[in-house]
């Protein structure tokens, strides 16, 4: 699984953003290649959501450069970025709760409605229903009546209907039972095959890393670690990021982390030290 980093879909260089007084994002740089699945890891408040929101345009980036398919996108409104191919599925899902499942899905393709696309849109919808049969069953129910897991799936489908080149997922497994979360993650692999790049922010590190190619670890607004998913899974630093120094205790109890097949292909682990405050 060699990643194609020659033509990155997204490139961020030294981007920073603030909420009022809080520096939510500090000098973040990352790359996402075409049909890659990349995970953002980190504890709550580490800045993962902020990063995703910056890419989708909801939060303004104050310094740095962001290129999407080689073209600068900073300053472009979120509504326009969707047209360019960036689709965000936010943590709160932001579904249209009073509307039916079907309407939510249709709306996902809002920006594609004009070009006489009715046939293609219909095809896409059918595909979505095949991927997520539960939504097919509930297609005429108002979104507010769905369970948490179903709502999450609906949110993802809505995001996919925009036919993005880059799909941003903010905590897709949040509140989902483990089996459902697994199902959602499995879908990601299928999407990858369709030339969609995915950047997801996840608290559930192992689940995410198992289904990703690469990952970045964030701490207090900075990217502190990056590397291949397999290498990161063995990295104790991740446990530190969540549970503060518990890593040794864990390994001591014999939980073995199984690396993905070849493991050492293209090991790239860079320990980025946070700058002193």
């Amino acid at each position: 699984m060699q990643d194609n980093l020659d033509m990155p879909i997204l490139e961020m260089r030294d981007c920073s953003a603030s909420y009022g007084n809080i520096r939510a994002l500090e000098n973040a740089s990352l790359l996402i290649g075409s049909h890659e699945v990349v995970t953002l890891l980190g504890a709550n408040g580490a800045g993962k959501s902020t990063l995703l929101n910056c890419i989708s345009g909801l939060i303004p980036v104050t310094t740095g450069v962001m290129l999407f398919q080689g073209k600068p996108v900073l300053g472009i409104r979120p509504e326009e970025r969707v047209r360019l191919g960036i689709s965000l599925v936010p943590e709160e899902k932001n579904l249209f709760l009073s509307m039916t499942v079907e309407n939510n899905i249709l709306l996902g393709a809002y920006h594609r409605r004009m070009k006489g696309n009715a046939g293609i849109l219909e095809q896409d919808r059918q595909e979505m229903f095949e991927l997520f049969p539960i939504l097919m069953q509930r297609r005429n129910m108002p979104a507010c009546k769905l369970s948490g897991g179903e709502q999450q799936m609906l949110a993802i489908v809505r995001g996919l209907m925009a036919s993005p080149t880059l799909l941003l997922l903010d905590e897709p497994s949040l509140g989902l039972a483990p089996l459902v979360a697994d199902h959602v993650m499995a879908i990601l692999q299928k999407l990858k095959a369709r030339q969609i790049s995915i950047l997801l922010a996840e608290q559930n590190s192992w689940l995410a890393l198992r289904n990703s190619d690469r990952g970045y670890v964030m701490e207090t607004g900075r990217i502190v670690l990056e590397g291949n998913a397999s290498t990161l899974m063995n990295n104790e630093r991740i446990l530190d990021a969540y549970l503060g120094g518990a890593s040794k205790a864990v390994s001591g109890q014999g939980h073995v982390v199984v690396p993905l097949s070849e493991g050492s292909n293209g090991d790239k682990v860079r320990n980025l030290k946070p700058s002193p405050r």
Binding site: G20, N21, I22, A43, N44, G45, C144, K145, S147, G148, E171, S173, L174, G175, P178, A181, D182, M185, A186, Q189, Q203, N204, S205, W206, L207, A208, R210, N211, T220, G221, I238, L239, Y242, L243, G244, G245, A246, A249, V250, Q253, H255, V257, V258, L260, S261, R277
Partner: protein, 644 residues
């Protein structure tokens, strides 16, 4: 709003002070001497009406600017004031003075009765409801001719008289009306720059406040909204009564929707949230109307009345579009008066801050006066401060908290951890009364919290900070803390409005108390700064100081360490220990494990709304269930190969 604070000894330049002094005194001076000029009869008459509308506008400005409530129904109260005078005189021959008093009583009662239900509405609902009330009022006036004289109204109503001296001329009424304006203005000014004003600003979201944060500081938001509504009713009523005695004939059409709209226009022109603006707005609008009445017939041949309305409307719209903050804001910028805006009571200005600091903050007399517990409350005897028993919270189909049981003992530090969405903040909301449990019960100091509202729980000594800060951005640091001291301030509305000695003493006590809290967290040097200028860590300390102002027995801290550097987290840990020394138990939601490990006596872990583990920090960290909750399951090889 300008401030008569003249003791800003910090600033060495005297010109801004002098400039402000001149501006402030020049207006009253002009008003006083106006009647002495010859040929001002027309102007006097206009000024009387400006004064009458001004009184009503002051009340509306308070309602809209400080309590954030919009009313299109002030005509009702104005009318009740006028008709009280009219009805009592016409049917019973009672002096108009009694009519005025009767009007005040009637208006207060009606405003009190209406206020409670109506003020639950907001924004456009409230506007429409008050508009409807105005329509209803006018219809009722028209349809009860026996009482109110029906469409033709009542009259003649005599002018007011003091003893045998009858106020017949415009000059008399001019002084009477403007003295009344001055009384109302000073009263409202005092209210606004005191604890009352702070309380209002704390919940009014457009002035940087937040209703829930305010309730968390023991402020009964509904009560304050009601008070302001009653005050606005009294203002309009008194204005109406005076108007009745001046114009001598009243009829329903004077008090209809157009009056309310005009009043609203005046307040918006002057600037919402500015008492000066209310008066200025009244002046500008009435003057504008006069100007148009004079000018338009010259420009347009034929009846000018309809063009007046249009021109008036267009000018008003232009003002709103170009100066959305109102004329007063624009003038302040023009005369560069804005930078010294401070809403403090003069005795609590920065100058007095320094002199207080030098004199030392301890005052045995004062400390004796402010006991830790208010009469009627007792320190809890049992070692357990709070118990939650099988508490659940259901949102539609979503179980945010599931049969949770836990307890906190006095002086304990308990940490609640768990992944995102585990129900931690919901639990806090349940404990401090923002949400009610769907089942189960929370017992604080031996009493169930379910029937209590958020501010009542805070009053009993349960304080809380928020993950998203919710600092009152339009107030200085010390004012934020002074809001927290609200429950200690016993001065009545009357005392505060007229700045009686008892109110001034209370204000000083609250000020010192707040300063002490700031000193506790180390922020005393920035007491007069605005919170937005502080770094994040200081802002978080401010919130803690504000919560500590309640002198709580239990303090709930929601993610206090988020966004802080490791050093700052250590300092926070020390602060938490200091707070425990005061005898306060602390319940902490946190993701930063360094803080949890350092401070917590006990850790409770939540996931999917349930308590999954409880124990000592060291044990929790190694517990497999906890690790799984955070990082997810590590599964066996076969599943791995399936997904790759």
């Amino acid at each position: 709003m300008k401030n008569t604070d003249l003791s800003r000894v910090q600033r060495t330049e005297r010109s801004p002070k002098l400039r402000r002094l001149t501006c402030i005194l020049s207006l009253p001076l002009c008003l006083v001497v106006l009647p002495l000029f010859p040929n001002v009869d027309y102007l006097l008459s206009l000024m009387i009406f400006i004064g009458l509308y001004g009184i009503a506008a002051l009340g509306l400005s308070l309602l809209m600017g400080y309590a954030g409530q919009i009313s299109l129904g002030q005509g009702v109260f104005y009318g009740i004031g006028a008709y009280s005078v009219g009805v009592l005189w016409t049917h019973f021959g009672i002096s108009p003075w009694f009519g005025i008093i009767c009007g005040v009583i009637l208006n207060s009662s009606i405003a009190y009765g209406l206020g409670k239900p109506i003020l639950r509405l907001q924004g456009h609902s409230l506007a429409v409801a008050t508009f409807a009330l105005n329509i209803i009022f006018v219809v009722l006036l028209r349809e009860t001719p026996k009482l109110t004289g029906g469409p033709s109204g009542l009259g003649p109503i005599p002018h007011l008289s003091v003893g045998s001296f009858v106020l017949t001329s415009d000059v008399h009424y001019y002084y009477l009306v403007w003295i009344t304006v001055a009384i109302f203005f000073i009263f409202y000014r005092n209210l606004v720059s005191s604890k009352f004003g702070r309380a209002l600003r704390s919940f009014h979201s457009f002035s940087g406040g937040n209703e829930i944060a305010s309730a968390t500081l023991a402020i009964d938001v509904a009560k304050y909204k009601s008070y302001v509504f009653i005050l606005s009713a009294i203002s309009a009523g008194v204005a109406g009564s005076l108007c009745a005695t001046y114009v001598a004939y009243i009829s329903p059409s004077l008090f209809d929707f157009w009056f309310s709209l005009l009043l609203l226009i005046m307040v918006m022109t002057g600037g919402i949230g500015s008492l000066w603006g209310a008066l200025l707005g009244a002046g500008i609008i009435l003057a504008l109307r006069e100007v148009l009445t004079e000018l338009l017939p010259i420009v347009i041949s034929g009846p000018a009345a309809p063009y007046e309305v249009v021109a008036f409307g267009v000018i008003f719209l232009a003002i709103l579009m170009l100066m959305p903050g109102g004329v007063v804001k624009m003038l302040m910028r023009f005369f560069k008066l804005g930078s010294h805006i401070r809403r403090n009571d003069p005795s609590t200005s920065p100058g007095s801050l320094h002199s207080l600091w030098q004199a030392g903050l301890d005052n045995p007399v004062e400390d004796a006066l402010t006991k830790k517990f208010l009469p009627g409350q007792q320190e809890s005897v049992s070692p357990i401060a709070l118990i939650a028993s099988k508490v659940s919270k259901n949102f539609g189909g979503l179980m945010a908290v599931c049969s949770l049981s836990m307890e906190i003992r006095k002086g304990e530090i308990v940490a609640i951890i768990g992944p995102n969405g585990a129900g931690k903040t919901t639990l806090f909301n349940l404990i401090n009364g923002v949400l009610k449990p769907s089942s189960g019960e929370i017992n604080y100091k031996g009493q169930s919290t379910t029937p209590l509202s958020c501010h009542e729980i805070a009053f009993r000594g349960l304080a809380r900070t928020f993950q998203d800060l919710r600092i009152f951005t339009n107030m200085s640091v010390i004012e934020n803390v002074m809001v927290g001291c609200h429950k200690w301030d016993k001065a009545s509305l009357f005392a505060v409005g007229f700045r009686l000695p008892s109110a001034r003493d209370e204000e000083r006590i609250v000020f010192r108390k707040s300063l002490k809290k700031l000193a506790f967290v180390g922020l005393e040097s920035v007491a007069d700064k605005m919170p937005s200028s502080l770094p994040l860590k200081s802002q978080k300390l401010l919130l803690i100081a504000r919560a500590l102002a309640l002198e709580p027995e239990i303090l709930l801290l929601d993610e206090p360490a988020s966004g802080l550097s490791p050093t700052e987290v250590n300092e926070l840990a020390d602060m938490i220990f200091n707070i425990r020394q005061l005898g306060t138990a602390i319940l902490l939601i946190e993701h930063r494990m360094e803080l949890v490990m350092k401070c917590a006596d006990r850790v409770i872990v939540l996931n999917f709304g349930e308590k999954i583990v409880e124990g000592q920090p060291e044990d929790i960290r190694r517990d497999a269930r906890v690790i799984e909750a955070y990082l997810g399951r590590q599964t066996d090889v076969s599943e791995n190969q399936e997904t790759s």
